[in-house]
Amino acid sequence: MEKLVLTEEETMLSDMARGYLDGAAPVAKLRRMRDAGETHDAALWKEMADMGWAGVLVPEAQGGSDMGYAAANLLAREMGKTLAVSPYISTAVIAATALRQVADARAEAALARIAAGEATYALAVDEGIKFDPEAAQMTARADGNGFRLDGKKQFVVDGAMADRLLVLARTDNGLTLFDIPADRAGVTRDRSNMIDARDAARITFDNVEATGEDVLGQVDQAMTVLKPALMAGQGALAAEMTGLAAGAFDMTVGYIKERKQFGIEIARFQALQHRAAHLWCEIEVTASAILNAGRMMDADPDSAALAVSLAKARATQTATLAVQEGVQMHGGIGMTDAYDMGFYMKRARVGAEWLGDYSYHAEQVAAARGF
């Protein structure tokens, strides 16, 4: 396994990404989109695709840049810092990983469309209020050579804008993953009004037709394809949340160095210094877990579950602390909509729930560690 240090290429990649995102997708952009009621920016996604980000996990044969999971996480981390809005995790990370598990011409064609920025995806697994894919109740009834899908999904991130949906449904002897166009007859998408102003939907499937061609992997064997895809998504989301924590932290430290009370900068108060220092320590420790998760996914994905859950658990906790301390140390201005800190707080809350919350992942860690 590569060491827990960024390689030269990785350092260049993240520097380049930071430069681009600061200009093209700063928090101010999220604010403008929120005010305009927009949740997707096609031009931005096209640019990201041109830089090879949409194809970060797509093989070069399908036009991807195939940079691997550690690199994918670096990009996610940079996006987290500025709260960039894109279907990166849903499409470039989760869907691409799922498709890579299937070696057929159809999957290869789909991967090529992802890399080119021509297809966006959303993953539809949640049915209840908590992440629990194996509890899916939505049905895929066998019907001739195909299936009929019936059921409801919620918290489908990027679900309102995506071209295609990866849908998990119950078949006769297990769970099956389908890859269908989002505009297929019988699919109704209701955009959720999310606190973080990002795209998500509640989706109803009413007698939706699916063919054998639409099955990703084997019937009844969804987890073979879905598990690596979920892990990839969880790892990238953890990285994004750690970037988010770092972004909120930078804002906070910048603010306390400027803001004066009692005639001095509030950064001179030890009560604040120590809390800022503690937060930095937490971010630093979490960064190790993120890098390790990426390295494990690249080196040995079959054994990466512990590393990924560790990363998501830590990232959730760290981002939560970063935004809470961020608002608190800003005082009144931190509570205003006019100031950006609130955007960090809302994204952190959504990221905490998506793909498994702290308890879910801490449980996975505990199980892997034998207690």
Binding site: K3, Q273, H274, A276, A277, E284, V285, L291, F371
Partner: protein, 390 residues
């Protein structure tokens, strides 16, 4: 052919050596007071196996695996060192030797000592023949360490040392002490300190044990009355001892932080440690707390790894040891609180059914004090890493 290019060969060789040389008795990973071998002139081995294990490791350089061979080490590189710890952990082997000489003085001497000093002082540390203690703190110089007042007067061929140290761990058992002594009273406080090596048997050195809340008495007051210290027993330059002291503290802090990452106790999962005395983790709150500790412990362990990898890649981690010390020790305290809760009333007796669990728990309370308090660590991070105004 370097072992770096064939880590597998090194691993195999090491495995075979351990199999043959590590006595069965030394394979219980014990990190408690009675399991540790501290060495030194007055050391009483708890068993024949403990002595055998020390001697065999010392002969191979395995008491200080990364030190150069000339100074008693095995000259292992980082990749080999990792394998070394993995293989030791795999058979749950005890550390053959622990000492302030290994953790603290050794690294400082390797960095600041003259070649003669290294040859003279390091091999006896590696063989466990000389035990060292740390004479930093004084009644009026704790967090404000640079305020030390113990004075050393220049008498031509020696310094005449007078003063008092406090909280000197194991001073009553140590053979030598490394001490911070004020050798220039006129200079600003950081600029007038020298780092001296002093033989505890010298006339005028006296120690008095102080009992801790854990019931044991590992630390002492140490008094110096007209102690003559030869001039060649200074490390680094005269009046520049603060640089040596700080460098040494970095190593001390890393060592203390290791406890929190679960790297002690053979790296066993916290859950496993708790299960030793409990029928699984049935209590939901306890289980949740244990999970939280485990998550943090793994992440801190990875951070230690990452920093070592960074150091090897020439990216110095700088003041990060303060971060590791703070995070590691606070976690270690949480772990021991948890183990006390898991032990219930069994944990409340001295040497009760769970052995010295209460003593271990009380001892961890010092982790966030010794080597610099958590508050001081946070101040270092806020000033030096975050650049907040002082």
């Amino acid at each position: 052919m370097t072992a770096e290019s064939t880590p597998d060969a090194f691993r195999e060789e090491l495995r075979a050596w351990l199999e043959e040389n590590c006595p069965q008795e030394m394979r219980d990973g014990k990190m408690t007071e009675e399991g540790i071998c501290w060495g030194g002139k007055n050391w009483q081995f708890t068993s024949q196996a403990q002595k055998q294990w020390l001697d065999r490791c010392a002969a191979k350089g395995y008491t200080v695996p990364t030190w150069p061979k000339d100074y008693g080490g095995a000259g292992l590189n980082r990749a080999q060192e990792k394998i070394f710890h993995q293989e030791m952990g795999r058979i749950n082997a005890r550390k053959p030797l622990q000492s302030f000489g290994i953790w603290m003085l050794g690294p400082a001497l390797l960095h600041f000592g003259s070649h003669e000093q290294k040859l003279h002082y390091l091999p006896p540390i590696a063989r466990g023949e000389v035990r060292w203690c740390q004479g930093y703190s004084e009644p009026g110089a704790g967090s404000d360490l640079a305020n030390v007042q113990t004075k050393g007067e220049d008498k031509g061929d020696h310094w005449l040392v007078n003063g008092q140290k406090i909280w000197t761990s194991y001073a009553d058992k140590a053979d030598w002490i490394f001490a911070l002594v004020r050798t220039d009273r006129e200079a600003p406080k950081h600029k007038g300190i020298s780092f001296l090596l002093i033989d505890m048997e010298d006339p005028g050195v006296e120690t008095r044990p102080i009992k801790m809340i854990s019931g044991i008495s590992p630390f002492c007051e140490t008094f110096f009355t007209d102690v003559k210290v030869p001039k060649d027993q200074i490390v680094g330059e005269e009046n520049r001892g603060w640089d040596v002291a700080k460098y040494l503290l970095t190593h001390e802090r890393e060592m203390i932080s290791g406890g929190g990452a679960g790297l002690s106790g053979g790296g066993r999962a916290l859950g496993a440690v708790i299960k030793d005395t409990m029928e699984g983790l049935t209590d939901a709150t306890l289980r949740a707390d244990a999970m939280r500790c485990e998550v943090d412990s793994l992440a801190i362990g990875l951070t230690l790894e990452r920093y070592k990898d960074q150091a090897e890649a020439g990216q110095g981690a700088g003041d990060a040891s303060a971060m590791l010390k703070y995070m590691g020790t606070e976690l270690n305290k949480r772990r021991h609180e948890l183990m006390m809760t898991a032990g219930g009333s069994d944990a409340l007796e001295w040497d009760g059914p769970l052995g010295n669990r209460a003593g271990d728990w009380l001892r961890t309370k010092a982790n966030s004090i010794e080597g610099g308090t958590s508050e001081v660590m946070l101040s270092i991070v806020s000033r030096r890493v975050l650049g907040l105004p002082g």
